[in-house]
Subunit: 210 residues, 2 copies
């Protein structure tokens, strides 16, 4: 049985997910929500080990199938040991990145057929989906410039602009097709972004449950 | 196109796979076979990183789905970067453990439905199967006593006898159902085991190709 809510944040590099995550955390706590904040890939010590294997720069070519299976291995662990138990006892889970990232990066970015990702999604979590997904949208050049300013890029971030453009288009396509998605214009000021987030929580019925 | 041959060694703990692997290596080289010897999980530097995550003792409970996805992640990398390229240029590949181990340990041992494993097998390598699988069979107590004498047991080896009995039964069941399997009685002397292996290579048509 599902008591708590599952909210995911999605978006490309440098769209301000972390800043918004901190805002949402404060906002929901002020509303009395018992909130657990986590991220993917990773989220438990064992899943973080998988994250390290995935993101460490590496000289061996990593097959796209390998990357995809590692993403879902980390996710299976995160779901079994953290997300599902929390939601079951009524906590809300706020997660930076989830399966939508896999569709965007491995699907859109690396060109894996969506059906192939869908097969693993089904195998791992089937109809267990977020209640709400906030997608932070930003032109690729702007986001990459911000990410670059933050310091060294990891293995996946060392891709070119065309890759990230495909990532963005995959996100936008999925956002169009799903009612759980809300698109946030990340080119706005921080204040405007936060207002938009607050209004999304007000207009959705999510807070009615807490 | 598939030019080389793909041979796998399977069996529980302490059945003498390594000793036999060394014998087969020498035997096939003497027949002029260009042979590559490898193992699972692992087989490439990146796949070995996944192996380490899988086998290191760990306090967090590892979900069975996580373990299964990591096994296949390692396998996808091994296939893409080592096994398939080798076979393509005419090398033979001798591999200690492959997907049959997943059926035996995660399926038989941990109770994952074979259909669930079959779905991942299909996703990763479908009809790319070994040409020959040598299964070393031994009563569980004998094998475990041998493995224990070798030193510390890894996370998967720290299971109880009932687990390994289920592993053995899963192997035997698969051996019955597939023409690529040959069962070797590992309770025989080393010399008898080696004679049996040599006669298997003679009776199968594999060496006719080299």
């Amino acid at each position: 049985m599902r008591v708590g809510k599952f909210i995911t944040l999605e978006g490309g590099e440098g769209v301000g997910k972390t800043t918004s995550l901190n805002f949402i955390q404060a906002y929901l706590k002020a509303q009395g929500v018992d909130l657990l904040v986590t991220r993917e890939p990773g989220g438990t010590p064992f899943a973080e080990k998988i994250r390290n294997v995935l993101l460490e720069p590496c000289t061996e070519k990593v097959a796209v199938d390998t990357e995809l299976l590692l993403m879902f291995a980390s996710r299976a662990q995160h779901l079994a040991e953290l997300i599902k138990p929390a939601i079951k006892i009524g906590q809300w889970v706020l997660c930076s990145r989830f399966t939508d990232s896999t569709y965007a990066y491995q699907g859109g970015g690396r060109g894996v057929a969506f059906e192939r990702i869908r097969a693993l999604e089904q195998w791992v979590h089937d109809d267990f989906q977020p209640d709400l997904t906030l997608y932070f949208d930003l032109p690729v050049e702007v986001g990459m410039a911000r990410a670059r300013a933050r310091g060294e890029l990891d293995r996946i971030e060392q891709e070119n602009l065309a890759f990230f453009e495909r990532v963005r288009q995959a996100y936008l396509q999925r956002a169009k097709e799903s009612s759980r998605y809300r698109i946030i214009d990340a080119s706005q000021s921080i204040e405007q972004v936060q207002e938009q987030i607050a209004s999304i929580f007000n207009e959705t019925s999510l807070l009615g449950f807490c």
